[in-house]
Amino acid sequence: MIRRLAALACALPLLCAQAIADDVAPVTPGYRPAVDTDEAGLWMMSDQAEATMKSSPLLVKDPGLNAYVKGVACKIASEYCADMRIYILDIPYFNAAMAPNGSMQVWTGLLLRVHNEAQLACILGHEMSHYMLRHTVAEWRRARDTTGAMAVVAILTAGAGVGIVGSLANLVALNSLLSYSRDEERAADANGQDLVYKAGYDPSQCAALWRAQMTEENAEPEHADTFQFLKSHPASQERLDTMQQRAAQMVAAANGRLQVGADILHAATAPFRGEWLREEIARSHFAQSLAVIQNLQADEPNSGLLQFYLGEVYRERNAPDDPARALTAYRAAVADGNAPPEVYRGLGLTEMKSGDKTDASTDFRHYLALAPAADDHAMIQYYLTQLGEPA
């Protein structure tokens, strides 16, 4: 019975992915636990959770994007590559998780937020390290021994009611109940940074990414519970300082041979960024969305796409000064020259509500000219008649 309960608990990939490695050795490439162990139960349930992920409607199936993320993972995983499967899930939150059986979920909210390939490698390397160091197994055993199997099962049952981002996400949300220990986090930081460095990436990007996430969280502390990853991986100044110091030594030793890879990441994610930004704004955590976009703009100051979505945040939030901010952002997007046609719709809507009929008409007409097949064509035509144009 106890073994069955243990197996049930480990239906949760990330719950299982947080363990204490006091008494377990790191995995070796090709590792599988012996069938008569409790760890085999963990793997069995992880396999079942992985099967659920494979059939999830949230699964992003685009072959190019999957090949890209898998390629980065394999570059840092090296001889462990064959043991890992990557699943990209269309969930607009920052999260990644690796189950004890080698399956890893990466959420699109994370892919939106990383600035370059080195930062993506940092997160993947950190999660792989929890897997490689078998934190999962030890954490599960400790939770079972200290909390009792029934209590863990009760936690899992309660988790079924968590509705913020779906059942797969619910599993991950349970991280908050059993966070990694500081020692485990330090170990994953160090091992992850080593993997990133050995693969030729700039390890200083790891601390930069964590810092950006803390900035985003602090932008809306009342909604910090949306930061599943930071809840299960609480960052501290001490950890950031340590990462930064180690990175400085590595960068010095590398003598300029390290890669950041911003252009490569942007090329791989370009077809999806607009949709990911739209999903980000739809969360209605506008202060966080502003932090996300402004973080990205630090590296991409001339991105019309980012300027457009900055305008969308202001237009949708509609706080007292937001219409003016939206117009500024939309106009900057137009000036950047690489904004989508919807920037003119955003301008027209904002101008129409501000009573600026002439500019609204001009911008709506511009939108219709650039997007003649837009599915809101009839609505925009209606707006034009409201603005005094002939039907």
Binding site: L58, G161, G163, M379
Partner: protein
């Protein structure tokens, strides 16, 4: 646990499945709130919704087909007001919203209710009885991975918002009731705007 406040509309729909229904006849106009009436076309069950601001009709159970009426929504009120969902989590209707804003309002309200991959489309003008209204469509998935479809008819009258929303699983149920829903949308009757006729 702290996530309890994210109790979902889906959970409410499931709860409605256990509730006592009253019958709504097919052939007589029914007032659904704020002087909006519709002709039901078929016999529906009306499900009580604890804490839910609107009226809900269903044929096969609320998780399988839900025709929801949100009427007389005043500025400062969310479109969806479900038990367990903190009001500060929900964007509210505001005076002067354009149809685009109302469509976004529904999408963001839904995003707070555990629905995912919410996509809105086909925003277009449409009559809401004798008033000028608008239509739009949406797709989303539930937290259990069920692909859903929806279609909405809305209007802003006298500074308040009315919306009729039908949602159902994309597989079978949405298509099965699509014609009926279109007829109900076409049957909407509201009083003429003050000052006219």
């Amino acid at each position: 646990m702290r996530y309890a406040r994210f109790a979902t509309l889906a959970a409410l729909l499931a709860a409605a499945g256990c509730a006592n229904y009253s019958s709504v006849g097919a052939n007589a106009p029914v007032q659904v709130g704020d002087n909006v009436s519709v002709l039901p076309q078929i016999q529906w069950g009306q499900a009580p919704f604890p804490g839910f601001a609107g009226t809900l009709w269903t044929e096969d159970g609320a998780a399988l087909d839900s025709l929801m009426f949100f009427t007389g929504i005043k500025p400062g009120e969310p479109l969806i007001n479900a038990n367990g969902v903190s009001k500060d989590e929900l964007r509210t209707y505001q005076a002067g919203m354009l149809p685009n804003d109302v469509m976004d309002l529904l999408a963001t309200n839904f995003s707070k209710l555990s629905f995912q991959q919410i996509r809105t489309s086909n925003l277009r003008p449409a009559p809401f009885g004798s008033a000028t209204g608008f239509r739009f469509d949406l797709t989303f998935s539930t937290k259990d991975g069920l692909n859903m479809r929806g279609t909405a008819l809305a209007a802003q009258r006298g500074g308040k918002l009315d919306m009729i929303l039908f949602i159902a699983p994309d597989e079978y149920y949405f298509g099965h009731y699509a014609d009926t829903v279109e007829k109900i949308f076409a049957s909407v009757q509201v009083p003429p705007p003050s000052g006219s006729g």
